[in-house]
Symmetry: C2
Subunit: 287 residues, 2 copies
Amino acid sequence: MAYYGSIEAGGTKFVCAVADENLTILDRVSLPTTLPEETLAKVFDFFDAYQLRALGVGSFGPIDVNETSDTYGYITSTPKQGWQNVDFLGKLRQHYNIPMAWTTDVNAAAYGEMHLGAGKNTQSCIYLTVGTGVGGGAVVNGHVLQGFSHPEMGHIPMERYPKDTLISSCPFHDHCLEGLAAGPALEKRTGIKGQLLEQTHDVWEIEAYYLAQALMSYTLTLSPEKIILGGGVMKQTQLFPKIRESLKKQLGGYVSLPNLDEYVVGCELGDNSGTLGCLLLAKEQGV
Amino acid sequence: MAYYGSIEAGGTKFVCAVADENLTILDRVSLPTTLPEETLAKVFDFFDAYQLRALGVGSFGPIDVNETSDTYGYITSTPKQGWQNVDFLGKLRQHYNIPMAWTTDVNAAAYGEMHLGAGKNTQSCIYLTVGTGVGGGAVVNGHVLQGFSHPEMGHIPMERYPKDTLISSCPFHDHCLEGLAAGPALEKRTGIKGQLLEQTHDVWEIEAYYLAQALMSYTLTLSPEKIILGGGVMKQTQLFPKIRESLKKQLGGYVSLPNLDEYVVGCELGDNSGTLGCLLLAKEQGV
């Protein structure tokens, strides 16, 4: 049997999985992200039981995805202790001499959702996760989006909601999406943890405004066929109609969008978006 | 000899050209954009002298680029009198039974610049033209960027420059890039036509801020290898270093950009970006 491996490498945990050629997941483990050597030792322990044909890796970032770069395969300027400038892909390659796909966790999730989830029957989509941070990945013409680097959609600049004076939670930007709309911003606005906030709380209007403004910007820049929203904050499903309404209002009728109920949707693969995306990318390594 | 045709269809003029297989332009005409039947009659007059193998069309928009749509090939909701909901591509196909490529004027320009101009040796770039309006096109993985529709990058929302209260020139959006930074906004800010403004005028700081903010948003969303700026306003070349400086400042060190002098550049093909892009797209129709 042919086995494919997946590593969804997050700042909090690594989810590793093994699947067969049909992408049926046969084994899976969730490992805490500690220091690289320690975490990777556990990753190897898990995969060593299988003869993998190929491995797909979706990593937290920023990462270097430029194949011509000296630091291709590195996690670069992450705030995560111990992981700065780590040759992640190189360490994997030292251990396994098999083809590997390398992209961001959110690009992998976008790829998974496009093939097997909410983006089926499209060739392009955006996947945005809204939680402790905001991360975005995309697929264009069937390929994960990478250019000089990878998307960092969570940090696009925002026009502030009228009279919103919240101090941004982002250490880099005083008015980016993540700084004004990720979980920590919700908590700063209300003094209540996001998951405990009532569905009827006024703060969701502000949250929907910022997310819709970002979706407007992505739409006008990338023109994806679908925008898929995931992450902890999006479990507040009352946000979806609010976002669609605000997006329509902010666009002001300038472009004809697809039916908004089909254009702005939740993810369908749940916690499996990234894992399945990595497995697909592994399988496409052509072995 | 094989002839390829190009139509760069703008709201003011149509530039039609014929080239040989080496894309050497053999003939060219510039026609005023009046009403569709009248303009197209002149287009046909020009091309009828040649046995074209294929035609590339880059049109002002918005246009329908979705091949599965009933209105594929139409110019849709343009403010240009007489051109609303016109089956532009259909009228061309009625007259010439040859393969045709169909995209926006700015996507065609991006494609031309990527292959033959400022974007050579890349696989992805953005082309932004700043003039009476602001239009943006892009190439990703070697293909012009189209999804549910085409990019409309000129209309992304902007955080206002501190204390800027200018009323947006865009009828759709009160704080989009075009509304705050295209030629009419420059003139409203200063009472002076853009081309007559001194290089040392204070307004260029504001202009550079908005353009840099847009470039930040595009960069974080699309991660192109290069951003190419053209159009009348960009003839004010003192803008380039100001934009690069402001982009660096606004990004706040969050992503490692390529060398900014090579990342944000002027177009190299001048008025030929769109025409050469259309010719390339025509030639790639595979005949």
